[in-house]
Amino acid sequence: MDVLRNNNALLTIGTFLPLAGVLVMMFIPSGKELLHKQIALLTALATVAVGVYTVAKFDFGNAGKLQFYADTSWIKVIHSNYTIGLDGISLPLYMLSSVITLVVMVYSWDHIPSPGNAKAFLILMLVLQTSMAGTFVAQDLILFFVFFELVLLPMYFMIGVWGGEQRQYASLKFFLYTMFGSALMLVAFLALYWQVSKNGLSGQASFSIPYLAAHGGVLGKTVQIWLFAGMFVGFAVKVPMFPFHTWLPDAHTQAPTQGSVILAAVMLKLGTYGFVRIAIPILPAAAKAWAPWIGGLAVIGIIYGALGCLAQTDMKRLIAFSSVAHMGFVMLGISTLTTLGLNAAMFGMVAHGLITGMLFFVAGSIKDRYHTLEIKRLGGILKQMPRMGWILGFCAMASLGLPGLAGFWGEFPVIVSAYQPFTNTNVFRVYMVVAAVGTVLAAGYLLWLFQRVAFGEPPEEFSGHAPAHSVGAAANDTLHGDEIHHDIHDVKLTEWLAWSPLLLGIVVLGIYPQLLFKVIDPAVQVALKAYGKG
């Protein structure tokens, strides 16, 4: 296997470092909130530092190979190894997860949602970071599954304890949907293992993803199609693809701001990453057979998400539905099975992570100030909080795919790649047209949102400098009681600190996309090796 084993402890450190913070925090009583925040922030900062060092040591000339590769025996009984490695596909997402965790920690400095308990909240976030990073570096199916599932529990508690009014319903729905998917995915993984060891040339049994990618092609088409079906359910629920998306609006809307940001920015990528890393390279024949169906569901998602957005009355729910549409673009890119499509999809994942993460941050901050996200009741933000208003405008523009900002490079190349897909050219050209219509709708719902909440005069209930109590805000009043009598103030320091990396990222990647493409491309070429020249 062609891998680079340099610095092979680096990834392990980067992945499990947050748990060290958790361990320390567990022995500090929950009363010392400030100390907990400091430790958590420090841990997140250290994790990013390790991440930056990893990038520095990353051999960009060999981005297609797995680097920092480590492989030790883990569970001999079932031939599962602790195999981790990083290539051009994992690297951006791995970094994204640690950066997002850091900015969320910064934001949490003075935004611990009701009902408080900073200790538990921050611990869950750190555990989440380990599981997300672990999913992106795992190169063994069982290890991948463990990390993939480990994500669920912290998020379940985050939504269920710190969420909105419907939090318990939303958290359970989120959990059951994703668990259903991953249960079938696991069955598919195990069946794949046995099938490959039975039919493989070497007769060797292994859960190693590179090994399976090299040998998965020997399986018959029917077998592959069934295995792909199992994985598809697991990944598609996570993405989420239409029609498995219904957990997403509930989960996103009910989650606390930090939860929504992590969900949108990183967790949705676990599904698409699964397709790129596992399903597509290992099961080429099935991917070809499934491609038009996935593409079809993807464009349905694009249109359905956009129409859903137009119908929303709640800002956060609108952003949630826009995720369905954006992930539709990503899936369309993946389903073309071309290097261009996969490149664009990978770029789209990162861009969506930055942009939608930002949008959720802004929505959370607006909610903090107005205690409502009902679009009808908002307005004139540009007058009351010009900076916040412009940030919202900036993110809306980025999200609708304005050239020059990151969102563009996740959408435009996808549409181009659908013109010349690997299979079913005619079908995909129809999809291309539909997706193009989707971008217009995206511009529609985002600009309309911006117009309604940012333009015009501030509504009467929020004009004046002391916003009145409102019925909808009653839920959070107990802890934020002091804020209600404060002025509606513009962007605060912690918000600037948390947001500037993301805003910077959106601009830099928009102006110089090659920065990301040159990392992704070699790895995508490797992933599509089984497809010949795409």
Binding site: W74, K76, V77, I78, F145, G160, L186, A191
Partner: protein
């Protein structure tokens, strides 16, 4: 007749007894007598001594198992191969002894404070453990039956331990009546088997049933009877109806013992019957196991969903977990035979650790809440964050969420049934996958109460956890975490390489 008997007796040669191999049983038997006698001579205020002695006896019995494992000279066959100490029985014996030890830890406070008969309690508990330990080595119909009764009868009495509580009495009587019925079924099945094979030795029976190629009706009937009888013991649906009432009525430590020890005992017996007495009659028991496993996990899950009492919910949950342990039986006798046996062992180890832990937390919390209702768990995150974390760990493990032990057990079970590549295997894998999701409905419900609801009576005072329960929580918690993160470290003891190939099990 008499003269023939005498003639035979004169030829009687004392069998060579391997005392090392029998040491755990001998220590336990002596321990039972010691507890019984000590109990007679100590005053009421010193009765706690009996618990201590019981704990020491259980730990002492582990020592010969360790030495036997270290020597590792494969199989020790006693009494003409009717009582065998092999890898499988060693690992299972160790498990039962540790289960017994943890149950003693859980019982001390409950039994002492309740003013129950402490000496007798521990005598019966040790006897139950002795029965289980014997079951792991029994390779003969007679010794299987004796071990089976030995592990059952003490638990009938333990279930009814709270004498003045009608619920506890009901628990004991129900358990006893259905248990007696199961014994009758089993005896009938065994008599038919003996009639067919002319031997009570399991391996002889296995040989006799395979020679003909086609099963006779009598053989089929015997197999069905025996599987059904053990079905009662492992509370497989539709033989489960006693379990919820018994579990709820019995004192909680006894429930923990029943749901883990006695159930595992049933599975051990089932393993020796299926793998040794009729391994090639799979035409009969394979569909039977498929139906049992499907029904057990599904019905257990669905019933658990609507429970409001936590012990009753744990009863249904343990029924459903039993369904998962039955899963590998579906592919026993195919090429996945070896994997499935290892899986059963692994699953039993994980399940025992996790479920005991769950009961330990329940016992600790109910000391404060004084209520078995699930809704009484509200607010735990506020007043008992440590216990909440542990309870989350145990329930997440039962639900099969990594990185806690349960996920590995579930993955192994799926892996075993998929290896076989049979229709039954694929079908049960998908059914199991769906059931895993349903199960989260009620495990998640517990977590929701603890994490997301306020304390129902607003009482946020701390929970006083007695040291013995802390010890039990420590053992089970560390075990559950370790089994999940580094399963290999523990489960290599369950990696019974030569078990099936060399036929170490019993020959």
């Amino acid at each position: 007749m008499l003269s023939w008997l005498l003639g035979a007796a004169s030829g009687f040669a004392r069998p060579k007894i391997d005392y090392h191999a029998l040491a755990p049983e001998i220590i336990l038997s002596v321990g039972i007598c010691v507890v019984l006698i000590v109990d007679l001579f100590i005053s009421e205020s010193k009765k706690w001594l009996t618990a201590t002695i019981a704990g020491v006896v259980l730990i002492a019995s582990v020592i010969p198992i360790v030495t036997l494992a270290v020597i590792g000279d494969n199989t020790r066959s006693l009494f003409d191969g009717r009582y065998v100490v092999d890898e499988f029985s060693l690992i299972m014996k160790a498990m039962f002894l540790i289960i017994g030890y943890v149950v003693v830890l859980l019982s001390t406070n409950e039994i002492e404070e309740g003013g129950y008969y402490q000496g007798e309690y521990y005598v019966l508990l040790l006897s139950g453990v002795l029965g289980m330990v014997m079951m792991t080595s029994a390779r003969d119909l007679v010794s299987v039956f004796v071990a089976f009764e030995f592990l059952s009868i003490p638990t009938y009495m333990l279930a009814a331990w709270r004498k003045r509580d009608t619920k506890s009495n009901e628990a004991g009587v129900k358990y006893f009546l259905l248990g007696a019925f199961a014994s009758a079924l089993m005896l009938y099945g065994m008599s038919l088997l003996y009639g067919v094979a002319h031997s009570t030795k399991l391996s002889d029976i296995g040989a006799a049933i395979t020679v003909k190629g086609k099963l006779s009706g009598v053989e089929a009937l015997a197999i069905v009877f025996i599987v059904a009888a053990f079905g009662f013991k492992v509370s497989a649906v539709p033989f489960h109806s006693w379990a919820p009432d018994t579990y709820q009525g019995a004192p909680t430590p006894v429930t923990a013992f029943l749901s883990v020890g006695s159930k595992a005992g049933g599975f051990v017996a089932l393993v020796s019957m299926v793998y040794l007495a009729f391994p090639l009659a799979k035409d009969i028991w394979q569909p039977l196991m498929f139906v049992l496993a499907t029904l057990t996990m599904t019905v257990g899950n669905v019933m658990a969903l609507k429970q409001t009492n936590i012990v009753r919910m744990l009863a249904y949950s343990s029924i459903s977990q039993g369904g998962f342990i039955l899963m590998p039986f579906v592919v026993a006798g195919t090429k996945a035979s070896e994997t499935s046996l290892k899986t059963i062992v692994a699953y039993l180890l994980v399940y025992a650790t996790t479920n005991l832990g769950a009961f330990a937390v329940v016992i600790a919390v109910t000391r404060k809440t004084r209520s078995g209702e699930i809704s009484a768990l509200g607010g735990m995150l506020t007043y008992a964050p440590g216990l909440t974390a542990l309870m989350t760990l145990f329930f997440a493990s039962l639900a099969g969420i990594p990185p806690f032990g349960g996920w590995f057990a579930k993955v192994s079970a799926f892996r075993a049934v998929l290896e076989a590549g049979t229709g039954y295997g694929y079908a049960i894998a998908v059914i199991g996958a769906v059931n895993t999701v349903i199960a989260f409905g009620y495990y998640g419900n517990i977590m929701r109460e603890m994490w997301m609801k306020p304390a129902p009576d607003g009482d946020n005072s701390r929970v006083e956890v007695p040291p013995s329960i802390i010890a039990a929580l420590g053992i089970t918690g560390a075990g559950t975490l370790l089994l999940g993160i580094l399963p290999h470290l523990v489960l290599r003891f369950g990696d019974l390489n030569d078990l099936v190939h060399t036929g170490a099990l019993g020959k």
